[in-house]
């Protein structure tokens, strides 16, 4: 295999195994604590912050999609903004044209993206590493223009985009729209994360990772590399597409300019910062993608871009294997200290 994927192997190699070995009790406690926090937060904090957290989960889910492809299967993609956009537009068009309820748009967006991802995965089979990155880059650059394309305008609304209504909580539920959307997103997120975790732990997951670690060996062991690679592409697109649909519902607006190549780069940054090949790390990636540009801007409006760059460099320097790697490292350190010498 060519250069770049090997790096990801280095980042990710140990992740799933160490996670399993790490003390399950502390880990479960931590997850439980986080869940409780997640349930309490919307009642304590302002609705704007609740909305931001909803977006964090949306980006986290999109990054998880990319992670399945890049972190676990070793395939590169700069085109995930396109899948995110397709998911968002599928949701928006279904809600606008067919008056479909917002929750039904998620499976539809997932299905459409799975299909597109799977089909795109077919030619991508022949491409590896940087070449695949380029091919997916093409997809990302094409997407905004396809969305503006004249014949599709009755459907996509052209450059104007589509404005959608924010879903109200079901009658009788004492929540405001932001809180409701937060819990809805949280529920989807938990289901999707659980799905990804069990996928990675399964026989299929091992096959997917075997292809990343050594495609030839994997093939020799009887793994249908072509099938698994295209399927991973499809599943990855599905995750990102569902995130796109959730994002469209939260933002209440889709336009071609929302799904440019820059979004792909943001997702990639989130992936690396969160931890390549780490499922919970994806969520941290979402936090980074959403909050760090705001922090950078607070420091200096004129130099926001430069400060963002500096923060990114620092993060990569301090946490070379992403947030997930950092947590594992810190946990290992603490454990070593606690043990008698």
């Amino acid at each position: 295999m060519t250069g770049p994927p090997r790096d990801t192997v280095a980042f990710a190699g140990a992740s799933p195994r160490t996670l399993v070995i790490a003390k399950p009790s502390t880990r479960h406690l931590l997850i439980a604590a986080m869940l409780v926090m997640a349930l309490v937060i919307p009642f304590v904090l302002k609705s704007f912050f609740v909305f931001q957290l909803t977006l964090v989960m949306v980006y986290g889910l999109a990054i998880l999609g990319l992670n399945l492809l890049t972190g676990f299967n070793g395939q590169f993609s700069l085109g995930h903004s396109a899948f995110y956009g397709i998911g968002a537009y599928t949701a928006a068009i279904l809600m606008e044209q067919l008056d479909l309820a917002y929750y039904w748009t998620l499976p539809c967006a997932g299905a459409v993206c799975f299909l597109v991802g799977f089909l795109f995965g077919l030619p991508a089979l022949r491409l590896q590493g940087l070449y695949l990155a380029l091919a997916t880059f093409a997809l990302a650059t094409a997407m905004p223009q396809i969305l503006k394309f004249q014949p599709l305008e009755p459907l996509t609304g052209g450059v104007q985009g589509i404005v959608i209504m924010k879903p109200d909580p079901p009658p009788g539920v004492p929540l405001n729209a932001d809180q409701w959307l937060y819990f809805f997103t949280l529920a989807v997120l938990l289901v999707m994360f659980a799905g990804a975790t069990s996928l990675v732990k399964s026989r299929t997951g091992r096959a997917i990772m075997a292809i990343r670690d050594h495609p030839i060996a994997a093939a020799t062991m009887g793994i249908n590399t072509a099938l698994y690679k295209t399927l991973t592409f499809g599943v990855s697109a599905l995750y990102t597409g569902v995130a796109g649909a959730l994002g469209a519902i939260a933002i209440q607006f889709v336009a071609p300019d929302s799904f440019t190549f820059l979004l792909s780069v943001s997702l990639l940054v989130g992936l690396v910062v969160g931890g390549v090949g780490s499922i919970p790390g994806s969520l941290f990636g979402g936090v980074f993608v959403l909050f760090v540009p705001n922090i950078a801007e607070r420091v200096s409006t004129g130099l926001a871009g430069a400060i963002y760059g500096v923060i990114l460099l620092l993060v990569i320097y301090v946490m070379p294997s992403g947030a997930a790697g950092f947590v594992r490292f810190a946990a290992a350190r603490l454990e070593a200290k606690g043990k008698p010498r």
Partner: protein, 408 residues
């Protein structure tokens, strides 16, 4: 309607307020973000990303409010101008605007920039009843007080420019055959719609070629050739600078000499005419509403001098040839007028009421004679423009100030 000047408003303000705020005579009424000493105002501009060249507008606005605060603010209140980067990305705009409204608690949004970005926040702001004032985009849809009573435009919209072109053509080439080059999106179609409405009955016979281009097209050569071969003798060129320049060049190359009308979007000397060749651009007609800061005829104009002095003192690093630095402070000045009219009744409702109550107001960098007028049914502050002809070096204004408003 009675004419109102700035001074008469100041004297009449207390009286006006009694009418507006019936029971609370002389009592202060504040919306969110207002205190006795401060008014919080929100804004989004792309400081980063593909459209970051517009970032200077936000900086010029911030500089303007710095100057205003140094001079004592508005009615004794300082302006706290909070401007965030949205990178021209609609989801980011939604996030930043929600932050401004819900967290920073601004009274209103001033001049958020961009058509897709403003579309993304329009419904939210109207639901929350937060004024979205003087949006920095020329789309026609911002003038829709019936459906969006909290959103107001500022600059002449593309459609009213189209009206003016139609009037100009009817006057100068009444039996002309018109070819139109337009971008295949809202912005281009706004021009086309304005032109067609302006021509009225005559549109059918006069508009011979409607040639759209996509921003992805490499050139617009074939569109120009098709116009010439269709016998058009009027060319309305509404392209963005890149395509406007190509069209000007091609017109010269194929030796086609129509009455060439260039829209304000593509009339930058630096961005469009120079690349097309200044000699090719001679005699082209276009329209303006602000003073071009590079035009030497304004050197001794008090409005220009005032602006230049402001730029030197408060925004010295700003580019004085960039029209964005002219527009930014002008947005601010219009808002300041609205705030003055509001007096001590600074509720969001009253802001909208006074924003829709501007009469013959002007700011220093608008062309002489161009007035800002609004009413409860008219949310398009600037509707007038003046035509100019390119003399091979620079634009020369001519004729009267024209109105894009064609009633009926």
């Amino acid at each position: 309607m009675k004419k109102i000047t700035r001074r008469s408003i100041l004297t009449a303000a207390p009286a006006a307020i009694t009418f507006i705020a019936l029971p609370a005579r002389a009592e202060k009424q504040y919306g969110p973000g207002v205190t006795d000493t401060e008014i919080k105002i929100g804004n989004t501009v792309p400081y980063s990303g593909p459209a970051s060249s517009y970032g200077t507008i936000g900086k010029a606005e911030a500089a303007y409010f710095r100057m205003l605060n140094d001079q004592g603010g508005v009615n004794g209140r300082k302006i706290n101008f909070i401007s965030y980067d949205d990178a021209y990305s609609p989801p980011k705009t939604v996030e930043q605007v929600r932050k401004l409204v819900e967290e920073d608690g601004v009274l209103l949004m001033l001049a958020p920039l961009g058509t897709p970005t403003n579309s993304a926040i329009q419904r939210y702001l109207n639901q929350k009843k937060v004024p979205q004032l003087f949006v920095a985009t020329g789309a026609t849809k911002w003038n829709d007080p019936k459906h969006f009573p909290w959103t107001m435009g500022w600059q002449p919209n593309y459609q009213s420019e189209g009206h003016v072109y139609a009037a100009y053509i009817i006057e100068h080439q009444p039996s002309g055959k018109i070819g139109v080059l337009y971008q295949n999106d809202d912005f281009g179609k706004d021009y086309l719609r304005g032109l067609r409405d302006g021509l009225g009955e005559k549109a059918k016979s006069m508009l011979v070629v409607e040639a759209p281009y996509e921003t992805t097209d490499p050139t617009v050569d074939s569109q120009i050739i098709s116009m010439k071969s269709a016998g058009a003798d009027v060319f309305v060129n509404t392209g963005i600078p890149k395509f406007a320049a190509q069209a000007i060049r091609k017109t010269a190359e194929i030796d086609w000499k129509p009455l060439h009308i260039l829209s304000s979007v593509g009339n930058s000397v630096g961005a469009a005419l120079k690349p097309a060749g200044l000699e090719n651009a001679k005699d082209i007609v276009s329209d303006f509403y602000i003073k071009d800061p590079t035009d030497p005829q304004w050197k001794n104009d008090p409005g220009y001098q005032q602006w230049a002095a402001f730029m030197d003192k408060y925004y010295p690093e700003g580019d004085k040839t960039d029209a964005g630095n002219v527009v930014g402070p002008s947005f601010c000045q219009t808002l300041v007028q609205v705030l003055k009219q509001c007096g001590d009744n600074l509720t969001r409702e009253n802001i909208m009421k006074e924003a829709a109550n501007l009469h013959d107001f002007t700011v220093p960098m608008l062309l002489p004679g161009i007035k800002i007028n609004t009413s409860p049914t008219d949310f398009a502050p600037i509707k007038q423009i003046q035509m100019a002809r390119f003399d091979g070096e620079r634009w020369k204004l001519f004729g009267p100030v024209l109105s894009g408003e064609i009633s009926g």
